[in-house]
Symmetry: C2
Subunit: 433 residues, 2 copies
């Protein structure tokens, strides 16, 4: 069975999505059941990075959301309108929706979900928060046994990049913003990012999932990072803190313990806090629940590849449900396991890795040369070979290699262990390449 | 509709699971559809932390796995037998399985999954890897658009705790192991943990999911941490590394690029690597995929609460599917959204938080006293008040508060800003409590 989908938008994320769908090898077998029937674009003449048959592209987006052949509409246009209207129209035509549009969901979520429930379709939005980081589905499906106590996230990559550079370079906001704009990490009009609006959209969505109720976007108190100065970052550092733009949904913070606190603002966080080391364009989300304790999700929060990964995962989830209810109503292929073949596994001898090794050697002339020659005989290239101390009258020598085949390295060690000057090889530990 | 479940085992995780199921308030609404019909235990007389009707407890585990009323069997006994046989018997009686048993799944996964597919039931195992960290479902459901390139994890909390303490204290393995055993972080017979066997079970499971094929447990090359010494940790530190017990499934590492590399061993990793700061009993799993890039999952990898959280999430997933296919075959409640009410959100005025604030003041006697009094008038308790420098002839004073109601703090600032000596308040930034 083939499931036909329609895309609205072929920008960065749309292109990334098409690229995944066109190269299913090595990915979920469900990808092979998906056919791109139509892609809605603004201009038919624009050169594209992906090859699509000309009849797939159309500027008439209404034909996509009303096409009876199309089962899933993937909305990747962004912005409020016409995205909202097209989503509602698609739902009215019984299409499942996959969207990366946090602004529409944060503002019109209740309207959209009501329509979806009425028409019996899904609206999935993994890509709307945290790019490729799985966070929406884990909140819905994996943490349901918990009382969620708080969700604290670095949810906007642009501001995190700016704050990270301000911290590492001691530079001020304006200076780093200009650099970020030149690198394409910030928009020409950066307000949605630097004023915290994008992060506020996202925490509104996460709060609704985590705390099991609708959230009004305007209930999120919101301050951006324009007023954060290099001076404050430096003082924060002296006090043991870093400054991050945090988006926070807290069930325990207010005086009124029944109510949620929803807010986005620059925040001093202790350097040992798990979110303190989320730097650059990375996002991190820390969820605290009872009895779970803390879990953190970390990864690239934006970009074509990560966001397309999340879009496609939602499409696959729906395709799994559609196709399974056809053939085997009892088993969702995404939850069951049907691997028939065994993975081919290579021997540890064939591993290519770096090694750390410590030798205890007699303190005689030429021992370092002998070690070096022993490794060289087996093609083992060394990064460093250092006599690092003395223990019990022996010279202690630490050797770190470049990437090397483990079998060759073991053969070299075997030869070296025969050297008279080598008394002991107490440690051989691999180094992550 | 009520779904009846049976538990095999009422140890730490079993008790945590019952505690969640008995207190559904604030958790997934699906919990209310679950009834604990039977709990299999070794002794009826042992005192229990949870209240269960006496008729629920039984020492006859076979009655549970064959009970026609029971839809889901939750296996929390651990060990290979009789766990394996009971799971297979339950499957033959068309029960869905939820298990935390990595040893059984890593060794008998193919046999168990074949039986499950034959009888049309699920076998879910979120709790088997990473405790409460959602990793199984994300690998199955959220990353399917990717070609997984590698999975690198700190998957055993006991060894990570031991290595972390060896690192922070400069202590040797035996010494820390004894302390860990006294604290209950290591078993009397620690071999499954310290020899890497538990981590090897887990990476075999993750590899099978990530790389889409069965994995033979014996294909995982495995070294434990008994030979890691304080000396090597110290040298690694000087070279810019920490030592962690990593479990690795790598699709790109070997000379034979078709084959997987599967291994567990102590590993030097650069201090800037995301896994380097996963310390103590925490687990972390770093998944690299194309086009995803890197995502990391982090949290407590063991313990009653986190593991029970994962067990219950699996139970909820199955209950969601069972109950939805009864009433509304098109919509799985776990993927759709049916919130009707709005979350009550409190005002930012009611937020209780710490504040950092920077003042520029005339350098006149008594200014610090005036500031302190201004805060005191509004019940704002200070942690520190430091003149930190001079800027443009003004004294630069940084004040950090204890937890305070934001409304009170703003009122204090308003009063303070009227003081003649206070020239400017350039920064007010909240501190994560």
């Amino acid at each position: 069975m083939t499931v036909k989908i329609g895309l609205l938008g072929l920008g960065t994320v749309g292109t990334g999505t098409v690229e995944i769908l066109q190269e299913p090898q090595g990915r979920s077998p469900l990808l092979k059941a998906i056919e791109i029937k139509a892609v809605g674009v603004r201009s038919l003449d624009k050169p594209r990075q992906v090859n699509l048959p000309p009849e797939v592209l159309t500027t008439d987006l209404e034909t996509i959301v009303t096409d009876p052949d199309i089962a899933i509409v993937v909305e990747l246009m962004g912005g409020l309108e016409p995205a909202r209207s097209l989503i509602l129209q698609a739902i009215a035509h019984k299409k499942h929706i996959v969207t990366a549009n946090k602004a529409v969901i944060a503002r019109y979520g209740p309207e959209i979900y009501e329509a979806a429930n009425q028409h019996g379709v899904y609206v999935l939005l993994e890509a709307a928060v945290g790019g490729g980081i799985p966070i929406i589905k884990p909140l819905k499906q994996s943490l349901g046994g918990n009382r969620i106590e708080s969700i604290v996230g670095i949810l906007n990559g642009t501001t995190n990049y700016i704050l990270s550079r301000m911290t590492s370079e001691g530079a001020d906001f304006d200076e780093v913003l200009t650099a970020a704009q030149q690198l394409g990490y910030a928009e020409a009009d950066p307000s949605a990012d630097v004023d915290g609006l994008d992060a506020a959209d996202k925490i509104a969505i996460l709060a609704s999932l985590g705390f099991g109720g609708r959230v009004k976007r305007e209930d999120v108190a919101c301050e951006g990072i324009r007023s954060v100065s290099a001076v404050d970052i430096a003082y924060a550092d002296r006090l043991g803190f870093v400054i991050k733009l945090l988006a926070i949904a807290d069930g325990n913070a207010g005086e009124n313990s029944e109510a949620l606190q929803l807010r986005v603002h620059p925040t001093l966080i202790a350097k040992a806090h798990p979110l303190a080391s989320v730097n650059g364009v990375y996002n991190g989300v820390l969820v605290t629940g009872d009895p779970l304790g803390q879990v953190m999700f970390y990864g690239r929060g934006a970009g074509a590849g990560p966001t397309a990964s999340a879009v496609v995962s939602d499409v696959i989830n729906i395709v799994g449900i559609i196709t399974s209810s056809d053939e085997n109503p009892a088993l969702d292929p995404l939850l069951s396991c049907t691997h028939q073949h065994y993975c081919q596994v290579s021997s540890i001898e064939d591993l290519v890795t770096r090694f750390y090794c410590r030798f205890l050697c007699a303190d005689v002339p030429g021992v370092i040369g002998h070690l070096g020659m022993g490794f060289g005989n087996h093609g083992v290239s060394l990064e460093s070979l250092v006599q690092i101390g003395f223990t019990d009258g022996c010279a202690e020598i630490v050797v770190v290699t470049h990437d090397v085949r483990e079998g060759d390295y073991r053969a070299a060690l075997e030869e070296i262990s025969q050297l008279e000057a080598v008394k002991e090889i107490p440690s051989v530990i691999r180094v992550l390449s």
